[in-house]
Amino acid sequence: MYRYLSISIFYIFLFTPLVLNGTNFSTPNYSSIKKDYKITLSEDYSYEIEINQVTTIYDKKGLSHASYHFIIDQFTSLDNFDLKVIDPIKEKTIKKIKAKDLQERDLITSGSIYQDLTLKQFNLQSSSFPVRVEMKLKLRKSGNFYFPSWRPQNYYHQKVEQARLEVNYPKSLGIRYKTQQFEGVFDDNSLGDKQTLVWTINDLAPVPEDTEETDLAKISLAPEKFGMDGFEARMDTWKNFGLWFYQLNQGRTKLPEGFKQELQEMVKDTDSSIEKIQILYAYLQKNYRYVSIQLGLGGWRPMESEEVLFKKYGDCKGLTLFMQSMLSEVGISSDYTLVKAGENATFDEDFPSNQFNHAILRVRAGDKKYWLECTSSHLPAGFLGSFTRNRKVLVITPEGGEVDQTPTYSDPDFNTTVVNSSILLQQNGNAEIKGTLLQKGFPAETTVMKTYDKKEDEITNLFNGQIGGNGLIINALSLDKKIEWQDIQTQINFSGMIQRYYKSTGKRVFIPISWHTWEPNLENTTGLYIEEVNIKKHRSLNAESIPPSLSITEDNYELKMEIKIDDENILIKKHIQFTDTDRLSKEEQGDLLIALNKKIQGELVFTKQ
């Protein structure tokens, strides 16, 4: 399995993502806010964030709107924190909070062993409303690799009375910005070598939770020139941004001579680049494990390859760089690559900035390129899996950053499920079943991941959940895997019994057209589902009502279903081809499945003689 990386741990606030300039006044208003947010960048690349914020809470549900969280790391210090809780009716100060009064604990993200992050927080407790919270804050960052995004509203159900962002910077360093759905006033002033940008907006109505992120007002900032921990570079182009990462990785790929000889020994029997990649990838998967320890600049800078070799672990950056080092040793060129992994990954190509959370490797062999996910212990070499497929990435080359695209895997062979089963009806409503479930590509990836080193009974349970669920009891099961270059397939061979497979009344038998649950993968450009069920029936059953065969073409799928019956056999064939379902929203995918399921539900009705 592969893991996230914490390249981007540099967030200042954990504010709930929020809000927008909608005008839906029917949305309940739990709080209102006035805030002044000021960023001042210095010549030495350090910058200061000053926040002056007044939040009035009207409802218990808005208590969290006056909660504040700050993450302090090696590059961040909290210079000042001053907060007052005020009864606005009596204008009486109820409580004062200073920096020393903030609750504090270390912050370790899921999957990490350690990160040098400390969370400081204030949580408002109040039983009477309205209550007003006035906060003044000053944070200092020692480098400008990252600026936090700014939003007028901090929360849903929050009204903005006034929100103001001021950014001051030396012209020699520069700052770029990008606005989203911002309909307020913008002003820029220049005085000598200083530049000031100001955004102001008044009277924003509260918005509900279901507001899309893209409908929320937001201002993103990124440096033109930046410095971090002694490293300086430009971020105005992807090329320059990539150069900084290249600079960070420089000198970290050394391997000991003894190990170099081991590598040569491993690949000595082949001249094929693909075979060499496979050998070294398999070696990496077998001997090295994903471990995340992020200290200081380590959020972006990989462990040295020698250390990975020695410890036999590393995070995605470390394992990727280590793989690059090994490939280089056997004469294969590859490039360290940054990616935003996971679902719904966005990439703003026009706004060079740190948008990444994971590292992978691009391998060049002749005029071809291949991709390696170096934290996975189960994927075939040359196949990225669903975590990083089909998206823009930043490849780090000696010449700088280069935007590239990971494979779409649009061939149906990367998303195919074939179910074949033979069913023998028994007298009591049960049925004996024997069959196979063949999966190719992404469905197989899921099965391999879920069954990774699992016990047989857990695989049985998984299978029951995946395809059974309605009375299936597996007596025997085997899982065959084929994991080869760019190819992943699984086949589950099973036999057992389906309890209450068919329904029976006094005179009739009802056999389902579809008895098992299924969840096709709709996150791919194409997909194929084929099912063939052969049911042995008793001669004494006479067909009374048989659904007609189907051949339907809809926007995102083609369905063919055929039912054939003779004296002793019922054959049900389904063939479903999906196209472009990855472009649908989750809701549309859900609706598609419901509509499709309705078409393949129903029963074959037989009368008993």
Binding site: I113, Q125, S126, S128, V291
Partner: protein
């Protein structure tokens, strides 16, 4: 880090692992059998195994020092996860617990050589986990399949009123787990044991004050659906201070040896709490706190008054999310802030009730997942983790928890539905049975008829009662009328749902919700009609897909579901066929199911009852339970068949 190599002699392949593992391990000393070991006999597919773990405990004055040693072997790739270790301890403000002297190393056996990789000081990370909790985190290097990871540390604990003791089981199987404790002469404890192996083990030794558990072959634990929590079933032992000896001088200067017993009786335990200053302020609130609710009691009956008070506290007081059995703030502070932990909120409720003359007492319980499947019948404080309130009104008993305003008066959160609790009275405190008198379940009635000869109309009324009403309150409400989740729950899959209008009637007094809705479906008059009488409202999809079961099935509460349908046989049709009657009961009687069809005149009446009369069903009855639920699920899908009186087409179908 240092790198050491040792050569071991000829492997003694024939030595039985059982023999080898019967020896106690020492850090840094390894035997051949440990390197050979590759499969757990009682869990052959385990990916890692605890070869041995031990906790040796001694008192240094009034500090308990535990020397803990754990040795794990990685058997498969996925077992490498075991190499990431987190040790938790509670530091508090006064270093209540501490961990030190940590040693850890990876041991590999390669080419008949032992290779040891030690962790250095910089490999251990100390993490402040908040609220006084600390963690030591570390990961082992050079971990491969076959590696042994070995670590030891010392834990000091100043909090000796209760001793955490030892859990003998792990996520992975454990070959041997040892807990050894020596109590000094001047201090004595009661032990609390859970699990068959722990309870049946002869823990006494020849050494005075020394007790020792040495358990073998312990299975790894996993969760299953409809179970409370695996922690409630683990093999474990813990301790509570029972008494101690102390010295004082009498008026003549004579040195007297005195003993002090703690918690001899349940009343002692109550007094221990009730004497604490903060606790007292709730039990006997001062005058100035009497008018706090601002609720008038004039003209109200006692039950209504109690409900008003409950509503006031659950709405106005903000629960901090911290479970506790004792308050850390007194009542006046809580009135002021209206924020508190569970004990503070519920004791505030108690104080309000008492102020209005309503009899109310605190009750301590061990909620599900707290690690106690059954309470022990002696005053062991550590078994409890939640404080709730019991009120007696007009000879009826109500159990209350005011931390969640969505749960109505007289109901408890699902994790609190336990069988016993500790009632804290002024006198004669003790354990009581907690019985729920709620009638829970669904009543469903369908009236199905053909309208205008072309439309099948279904009028449905669902009444969700008791806990089924309470726990579905978030779903059964008008705001969800168009939600897919509501339709999925209520509408049969085959039904063609034509945007039913849901009408919700909520009865706050009886705490039930009635949902009424009508659906229609066009029918083809020339075809037969297949009609399912009703939709099964629970276990869809069937949660019991596993073929075997280790832990009991916990339904949480008792319930009876009653389904009824009336179908008028439409003109021009004959009821040709319908589901056969069924009546089944689990061998233990814990669950029963019946399904019956009656034809009266031109109407088919279908009735079905599902009754769960035991909240807990043992794992041995799991196959029968699974089968019964399969039958229920299947029966609910069987249709009634109405045949058109005229000639039929064999290719026709209009299954609803």
């Amino acid at each position: 880090m240092t790198f050491s190599k040792f050569t071991i002699g000829l492997l003694i392949l024939l030595i039985s692992p059982n023999f080898i593992f019967s020896q106690e391990m020492r850090f840094g000393k390894y035997n051949d059998a440990e390197f050979i070991y590759s499969e757990v006999e009682f869990e052959p597919e385990a990916d890692a195994v605890v070869l041995q773990e031990a906790s040796y405990n001694m008192f240094l004055g009034v500090v308990l020092e535990s020397k803990i040693h754990r040795r794990i072997k990685v058997l498969k790739e996925s077992g490498k996860e075991q190499a990431n270790v987190t040790l938790k301890y509670y530091k508090g403000d006064d270093r209540i617990q501490d961990i030190y002297k940590i040693k850890a190393q990876t041991v590999n056996f390669v080419n008949e050589e032992i290779q040891i990789e030690k962790l250095s000081k910089s490999d251990f990370y100390e993490v402040d986990a908040g609220n006084g909790w600390m963690e030591i985190r570390f990961t082992f290097p050079q971990v491969q399949v076959g590696s042994i990871i070995d670590f030891t540390y010392v834990k000091a604990d100043k909090s000796i009123l209760s001793i955490d003791g030892w859990v003998f089981q792990n996520e992975i199987p454990t070959l041997k787990s040892i807990y050894d404790i020596t109590f000094p002469d001047f201090i004595w404890y009661k032990s609390l044991k859970q699990g068959i192996k722990t309870i049946s083990h002869d823990f006494k030794t020849k050494t005075k004050g020394n007790f020792r558990w040495e358990l073998d072959s312990l299975k790894g634990f996993t969760t299953e659906p409809y179970m409370t929590h695996f922690q409630d079933y683990l093999e474990k032992v813990s301790f509570q201070l029972e008494g101690y000896e102390y010295r004082e001088l009498d008026s003549f200067g004579t040195d007297l040896n005195q003993t002090k017993s703690l918690f001899d009786t349940w009343q002692d335990l109550t007094d221990f709490f009730a004497d604490r200053l903060e606790f007292k302020t709730y039990l006997t609130p001062k005058k100035k706190t009497r008018q706090i609710t601002g609720l008038g009691s004039e003209g109200k009956d006692t039950l209504q008054l109690a409900k008003d008070i409950y509503e006031h506290v659950s709405n106005e007081y903000n629960y901090s999310g911290i479970s506790a059995i004792t308050p850390s703030k007194d009542f006046s502070e809580i009135i002021e802030s209206k924020n508190g932990n569970r004990a503070e909120i519920n004791l505030s409720l108690l104080a309000h009730l008492r102020n209005h003359g309503i009899i109310a007492y605190p009750v301590l319980i061990s909620s599900k997942g707290n690690g106690r499947s059954n309470l022990v019948p002696f005053p062991f404080v550590d078994q409890f983790n939640q404080l709730i309130v019991v009120a007696s009104i007009a000879n009826k008993v109500y159990y209350l928890d005011a931390t969640d305003s969505s749960i109505p008066f007289g109901f408890l959160p699902s994790q609190f539905l336990v069988n016993q609790g500790f009632l804290m009275l002024e006198e004669n405190s003790g354990l009581i049975d907690i019985q729920s008198h709620h009638s829970s379940g669904y009543y469903v009635f369908d009236n199905i008829l053909i309208e205008d000869e072309s439309s099948l109309k279904r009028e449905t009324a669902v009444k969700a009662m008791g806990f089924d009403g309470v726990y579905n309150a978030g779903l059964f409400k008008a705001e969800n009328s168009s939600s897919a989740a509501l339709k999925e729950k209520l509408i049969t899959y085959q039904q063609e749902n034509l945007n039913p209008v849901f009408v919700f009637e909520k009865n706050p007094k009886s705490n039930y919700t009635i949902i009424k809705y009508t659906t229609t479906k066009d029918i083809d008059e020339s075809q037969n009609l297949y009609v399912n009488p009703f939709q099964l409202l629970r276990w869809e999809p069937n949660p019991f897909v596993r073929s075997t079961r280790t832990f009991p099935i916990d339904f949480g509460y008792l319930f009876t579901d009653r389904y009824g349908a009336k179908i008028e046989i439409p003109a021009g049709y004959t009821l040709d066929d319908y589901p056969e009657d069924v009546s089944m009961t689990l061998p233990s009687g814990a669950m029963s199911f019946s399904y019956k069809v009656n034809i009266i005149n031109e109407t088919a009446i279908i009735n079905s009852v599902i009754n769960v009369s035991n909240q807990l069903i043992g794992p041995q009855e799991y196959p029968d339970l699974k089968y019964l639920i399969d039958i229920i699920s299947s029966k609910f899908k069987e249709p009634l068949v109405f045949v058109k009186n005229q000639a039929m087409s064999p290719e026709s179908n209009s299954a609803e």
